[in-house]
Chain length 337, copies 2
């Protein structure tokens, strides 16, 4: 363990100088700087996290968290991860301000302004896909406030990192599961949110690609859009089942799982169902055996990871990877509950 003092002693300068060099804060002659850098490299210097974190406390960092508060309980789970990590970060003297607003660009914009006036030093955000939100993100980044997007990304923004699912790969996994659970020629129905929502489409593309490449006997019969509405999902699924009473499998690529499952329950059909979340109603259906498997987006881990990235960046200056995906090992069946 080499410290700044070790480097200073070897270079024959003071700790202050070494500090200025390592944090490129200027006011050091090129020769001295070069010498210090060389010694630091040679000793493999890495700043001590405890020291850095302690020194960072003077700044009284505040991290803002802004999530959706739809009726969709997915963000409750994300929030749970945030809460746990926030408690941990409290022990490092970091404050978190959490807000949840409805799924609406203006509401989100307003909340962002509020957080900004509260003087946050970093932001974790589930962004509404709108130009003005993107601009706001860019504005914050411009002002040295790092932004981490969670669950959904926003195209072309300057956010520091994105934490969420690899939607495409999730679709591939679903395809593999269907293949495991079925045999022979299979009729598969897909119920999605909206073809305009990128992540839903990506999932379906992943699924279709995998089917095409490896499982050509699984045929996609129909793709319906429920626009994330439970009742629409209920009606649409019911109709689908009446049109195709011989359907073998159903893929819910987005929300509306509960409505769809109710329709299945009320019908005579018992298709194999794969879904994409782990909200209480989904788990209930999994327990009942209506749903065969669900692929978890690990919302809880998404929440804690995002916050952690901001923490690391603020206290140690660690710049994270631009994309953080959770995919592996995320299949749930009744027995994993």
């Amino acid at each position: 363990m080499t410290t700044i003092k070790d480097i200073a002693d070897l270079a024959g300068v003071s700790r202050g100088t070494v500090d200025r060099v390592l944090n490129s804060r200027g006011a050091v002659s090129p020769q001295t700087a070069e010498k210090v850098l060389e010694i630091a490299r040679a000793l493999g210097y890495r700043p001590n996290k405890a020291g850095t974190a302690l020194a960072a406390q003077k700044k009284k960092y505040k991290i803002g968290v802004l999530l959706f508060s739809e009726h969709n309980p997915f963000f409750d789970e994300v929030m749970e991860g945030v809460r746990a990590k926030a408690e941990e970060l409290q022990d490092y003297g970091i404050t978190t301000i959490t807000r949840r607003v409805e799924f609406d660009a203006n509401a989100q914009l307003l909340a962002l302004e509020e957080l900004q006036t509260e003087g946050i030093h970093g932001l974790m955000l589930a962004p509404y896909n709108h130009m003005r939100i993107k601009e706001k993100i860019d504005e914050l980044v411009e002002k040295q406030i790092p932004v981490v997007t969670v669950n959904t990304d926003i195209d072309g923004s300057r956010r520091m990192a994105y934490v969420g699912s690899d939607y495409r790969k999730g679709g591939c996994t679903a395809a593999g599961l269907f293949a495991l659970m079925t045999a022979g020629d299979v009729k598969l129905g897909i119920i999605t949110g909206s073809s305009n929502v990128l992540c839903h489409t990506e999932r379906i593309e992943g699924l279709k690609d995998t089917l095409r490449r490896f499982y050509p006997r699984i045929h996609v019969t129909e793709i319906l859009e429920n626009h994330d509405d439970e009742f629409k999902s209920y009606t649409l699924t019911g109709r689908l089942l009446r049109r195709h009473p011989d359907i073998d499998a159903l893929f819910f690529a987005a929300a509306g799982v509960h409505g769809g499952c109710r329709a299945v329950e009320e019908s005579e059909c018992r298709p194999k169902i794969i879904t994409f979340d782990e909200v209480p109603t989904t788990l209930k259906m999994l327990k009942k055996g209506i749903i065969s498997a669900t692929i978890s987006q690990q919302p809880c881990r998404q929440g804690s990871r995002s916050l952690d990235l901001l923490f690391e960046y603020l206290t140690s200056g660690t710049v994270p990877e631009k994309e953080h995906y959770f995919v592996e090992h995320s299949i749930m069946i009744r027995e994993t509950m």
Copy 2:
């Protein structure tokens, strides 16, 4: 964020006194102690981790890691997790000493002695199940050196915590997966390591229980023991397939997956296979489609988690849960790779 100083000021005593009370180091009058404790509780005092970690550096903590170095590459994976976490802990001024010895009580005992003379302050251990190892663990704990067992536990020892699989639940998950992948009456063969090894038995019990309760049409045809030997596994599996050419499913509860799969490949049978690890040879068979699914023990996470528990205990005095299981979301299929 309340600090020791805040408490001291409110109680009208010095930081030293508060410190003595909170760490029950004595030399404080009962009245003062009571007052301090009350204020600490009222303010919800929690020690600042950055401060604690920084102060802990003076002690130059060394953590010993002792794993098996069988030909079984499972512990390579555990090691990978250890390595990653160890690097992280380096930034907190903590040294790790890792050793790998063959699967043998005496070899392990010797390595333990060595680590002890190196002056470790904490130990992470994959214990060989032997009385003398247990006694050694107890001796270390007696000397205030916390011990975390990983992957396998040792009965009745005084280890601080165990990190590993919930073997039983793993078996249940396997049962659920078999049910998903099959239909009608099913003949299932089980290949295990040894009925004397607790964890193997637990897995099988979990599987059997779940089958009995939920999936009575899946019948266990035979249970064979390969004693974790690849070639024995190969021979036994081959014979099993010749005896029961109509077998529908195979469950590998322990090692010997590669040998078993080779036997399957060479036969005409294509049973659904579920295994319990993610070593390279298993992944290859998964890719080939010979193995349908494998349930990961998440060795990498086991490694990093164990080390983290020791770190937390040493630097913050946090006493962990006695058992840490990884089970959820740990199913892998070809598409999750």
